[in-house]
């Protein structure tokens, strides 16, 4: 775009078309804004003396319009606590983009009379506010926060997030205690090793050994408790997992060392505590990722209004004369059969049928369809969707948990519960490794007992087989690689909720993509201008000047394309669902659907327009002075990095498929435009069929990943072996997925995939090293000819190999 034609919003720094900017004179300086919200916030900050905010914020501020939302105080009722002098509330703040934002919120609220304290957490964006009774109310506080463009949200307590939060805390305590004792333990272990070579006072040696025992005990039984519990649980069900191996490795080393202590042999308490501590670190980081991405489903509340306009009775003629007046009641009281009035700009509170009026309804959050749908009488409307431009009355059919929105959430939860985990490589290795080692240990015991007849020597040799065969290397092989991969993915800009996901993703043979909002931006853009009798710039200038007055999505897209000065417009009229009319530059201009032009007696080339529409374009037809002047086609623009990302995946031998609700002609057009070899598409998929499509791909045993962003993708994301959600997408999509792209870049899909492939390769190499060690050392242990220092050295070498090999992932 031409630089002189764009201007940055004074508040949010968003680059916008100069023509669309709201220009206001503030304290003698002309300021441009991208939206009324930004303008309002800017003025408020100037008035209250907070303009320092603009100097304070740094490059971490991301440009983007701010919203001043209306948040009901009822959402926070449960989180208000009474204190000695007043009340205290904890809430989550959305819209914080940089450190200056927190400074602004804190100082802006502290200025308020009655606010005792406000503290915002820089990391979690949760705020704790306390205020004095009687001076201000919660509502005033909430309104003040929203007035500067931040949205207060209740902190969800009952959701899965708090379970993960608890898990994370639990792991943190177990890890820090484990780490502390392990560090202490290493001091005495090193001393013992040094003593082995250089000689050591036997009294000190005994003391160091007992100290090591003392220090390893809490690690084994407190930090290691999760492993003990999990392996016992798995054993009860007759199988072995990674936890079994960790328990066996640490447990046998612990027991062996106690015996060794009394038999005056070398102790291995360090093995016990190091395995447990390192693996706990991995678990802790993993649970942190889970907690970060799963605080969503209760946010659904924010889609649904808490207050509704209730009509006692309904009759079209009496309503029109204004004899029925609505009253405001809480949404909880609404029952099927009630009549509700929905004003423009409100969200629809329940599923129902339109009985009066017509309006365009934005259903994008439910269907993914970017254009608002025209709803006339008898049309169905759904809870949570947004009423755009007309007043309607609806007859309620479903409320609360029976609405389409709630049913989708329910379906997602069901799918999550029934998702069968795929066995990962480590568990598979463990499932046969553990029995084999146990058999070898028993054979050793019986063999030695048979030949030597000494119970003690036989037992010690059998246990040493167990200790030596479950080395750090094998325990670390997978968790360490997964841990490094997880942190690398985080650095790239995505969050993997569990380590297993990475492994599953590397095996994905098919990746399905949702079209709207994933492959495309979900925003309309002018594609082509087709003219009849006049030149393109003229047609655009007339149309854009007219469309400037409308807030419709199509109008906005057309105005955005036009960068010159507007022509004078008078007699502007908007006809919902049809188009616009007005006098532009003294000429009568009509712009809208082809039907609208025809209704007004304009002759139109129907076939040409229909051809474009059938390709998936939206066409805005224009007539100037009653003569068809041409039309402007618009479509949802493709993300800049979509094609590149798809090509990368195809190169790796992954089948890429696009799912779309459009007809096949439009889908074909899209695929053509992307120009990626072997890209397939499935057209006319309704939002509720997506999960079935995923299942059909999985049927042949193929592992299938799904990338999506909308509520309508949620079930498919859960059903897929790996669900990948766009971070800017809806909360439910984020909740249902395994990987969340925190940056709005689609190419992360292919980079994360690459990382997962490398990770699996490294895991396999790690396992190979760990097994090479076993092949050398187990025969020595069986024959009882192993030298303790030799085994310790080999153990360290194999562990180091695994560690360094794993670090290759991070590169």
């Amino acid at each position: 775009m031409d630089n002189t034609k764009t201007v940055a919003c004074s508040h949010c720094l968003l680059e916008i078309n100069k023509n669309q900017a709201i220009v206001e004179d503030i304290k003698g300086t002309e300021r441009s804004f991208c939206c009324p919200g930004c303008a309002g916030v800017y003025k408020l900050l100037q008035e209250e003396g907070f303009s320092k905010f603009y100097n304070k914020r740094d490059t971490s501020w991301e440009p983007g319009a701010v919203l001043t939302s209306n948040v009901s105080q009822e959402l926070f009722v449960d989180s208000v606590k009474e204190t000695d002098t007043g009340y205290e509330v904890s809430l989550a703040l959305s819209g914080i983009r940089c450190a200056a934002c927190i400074w602004l919120i804190e100082s802006f609220l502290s200025k308020m009379d009655g606010v005792e304290s406000i503290r915002v957490n820089y990391a979690t964006h949760k705020a704790k506010i306390s205020w004095t009774k009687g001076i201000i109310t919660l509502k005033e506080i909430i309104d003040r926060i929203s007035s500067i463009g931040y949205c207060p949200l209740p902190i969800s307590e009952s959701s899965t997030a708090s379970i993960y939060e608890k898990e994370k805390k639990d792991y943190f305590f177990r890890f820090s205690i484990g780490a502390f004792f392990s560090m202490q333990l290493m001091i005495y272990t090193v001393a013992l090793y040094a003593g082995y070579f250089h000689g050591i006072d036997s009294g000190l040696r005994t003391m160091f050994q007992y100290t090591a025992w003392l220090l390893a005990t809490p690690v084994m039984f407190y930090s290691g408790m999760p492993f003990i519990k999990n392996s016992l649980k798995a054993l009860k069900n007759g199988h072995t997992t990674m936890d079994t191996l960790i328990f066996m490795g640490s447990g046998t080393a612990y027991v062996y060392s106690i015996f060794a202590l009394f038999l005056d042999k070398e102790v291995y308490f360090d093995t016990t505590s190091m395995i447990i501590t390192l693996i706990l670190l991995g678990r802790y980081i993993e649970s942190g990722a889970k907690a970060r991405t799963s605080n969503a489903i209760s946010k659904l509340l924010t889609y649904q209004p808490t207050q509704v306009r209730y009509l006692q009775s309904f009759n079209p003629s009496t309503y029109q004369t204004g004899n029925i007046v609505s009253e405001t009641v809480p949404v909880k009281q609404i029952r099927p059969g009630d009549y509700l009035e929905v004003l423009p700009g409100d969200s629809i509170p329940a599923d129902g049928t339109v009985v009066f009026g017509n309006s365009e309804v934005n259903e994008s959050m439910l269907t993914g369809e970017p254009l608002p749908q025209m709803k006339v009488e008898d049309a169905k409307v759904f809870a949570g969707t947004g009423n755009v431009n007309g007043k309607i009355v609806i007859l309620v059919e479903n409320t609360g948990s029976t609405t389409t929105l709630s049913r989708i959430v329910q379906a997602v939860e069901d799918a999550q519960a029934s998702k069968a985990p795929l066995q990962n490589t480590a568990d598979w290795v463990v499932s046969w490794f553990v029995p084999v080692i146990i058999i070898i240990a028993f054979s050793t015991f019986f063999g030695w007992y048979f030949f030597s007849g000494e119970l003690l020597t036989s037992t010690m040799n059998a246990v040493s087989v167990l200790v030596i065969a479950c080395p750090c290397a094998l325990g670390l092989a997978t968790p360490l690689a997964i841990l490094i991969a997880t942190s690398k993915i985080t650095k790239l800009g995505a969050v993997a909720k569990s380590g297993d996901t990475i492994e599953v993703l590397s095996k994905a043979k098919t990746v399905l993509f949702d079209k709207t909002g994933t492959i495309t931006k979900g925003k309309l853009k002018v594609e082509e201008i087709i003219v009849n009798g006049i030149d393109k710039p003229t047609l655009l200038s007339y149309t854009a000047s007219l469309e400037k007055n409308s807030s419709h999505l199509i109008a906005k897209a057309i105005t955005n394309e036009y960068l010159d000065d507007f022509l004078p417009v008078s007699d502007f009229k908007e006809h919902p669902g049809k188009g616009l009319s007005g006098i532009v530059n003294e000429k009568e201009v009509l712009a809208g659907t082809i039907q609208y032009l025809r209704e007004n007696g304009v002759e139109t080339p129907n076939e040409l327009v229909t051809e474009h529409i059938s390709k998936g374009y939206t066409a805005a037809c224009v007539a100037i002075d009653g003569i068809f002047a041409g039309f402007i086609t618009l479509s949802d623009s493709i993300r800049d990095d979509s094609a590149e990302m798809l090509r990368q995946l195809t190169k790796k031998g992954v089948k890429t498929v696009i799912l779309t609700g459009d007809n096949s002609l439009a889908a074909e057009k899209l695929v053509e435009k992307l120009d990626v070899p072997d890209l397939e598409y499935i057209a006319e998929v309704t939002p509720f069929e997506k999960a079935d499509v995923v299942r059909s791909f999985q049927k042949n045993g193929r592992i299938c990943a799904m990338v999506g962003d909308g509520i309508n993708d949620a079930q498919a994301l859960t059903t897929a072996d790996v669900g990948i959600a766009i971070g800017q997408g809806t909360d439910i999509a984020i909740e249902s997925s395994d990987i969340v792209l925190m940056r709005d870049e689609l190419k992360l899909v292919s980079t994360v995939f690459d990382t997962s492939v490398i990770t699996i390769r490294v895991i396999k190499q790690n396992l190979f090293w760990a097994f090479s060690y076993n092949i050398v050392i187990v025969p020595l242990a069986v024959t009882g000819t192993i030298h303790p220092v030799f085994s310790a050295a080999l153990m360290s070498i194999s562990s180091l190999l695994v560690v360094f090999n794993s670090f290759r992932i991070a590169r």
């Binding site: 320092k52 450190a99 990391a123 820090s176 009294g203 003391m207």
Partner: protein
């Protein structure tokens, strides 16, 4: 050498005390906002809280 028999138990006891102080601090929310202080220390204008 004899001193070691005293010093080691003492060091362990001190270490455990420090560990408990750390755990207590964590539990009482001391490390909940580790991002904040680096910004707050530069805000010299208005006292918050």
């Amino acid at each position: 050498m004899g001193a070691l028999y005293m010093m080691i138990p003492i060091s362990l006891i001190l270490g455990v005390i420090v560990l408990f102080i750390f755990l207590w601090a964590t539990k009482s929310g001391e490390f909940e906002d580790i991002e904040g202080p680096k910004y707050r220390m530069l805000d010299d204008d208005e006292e918050d809280s």
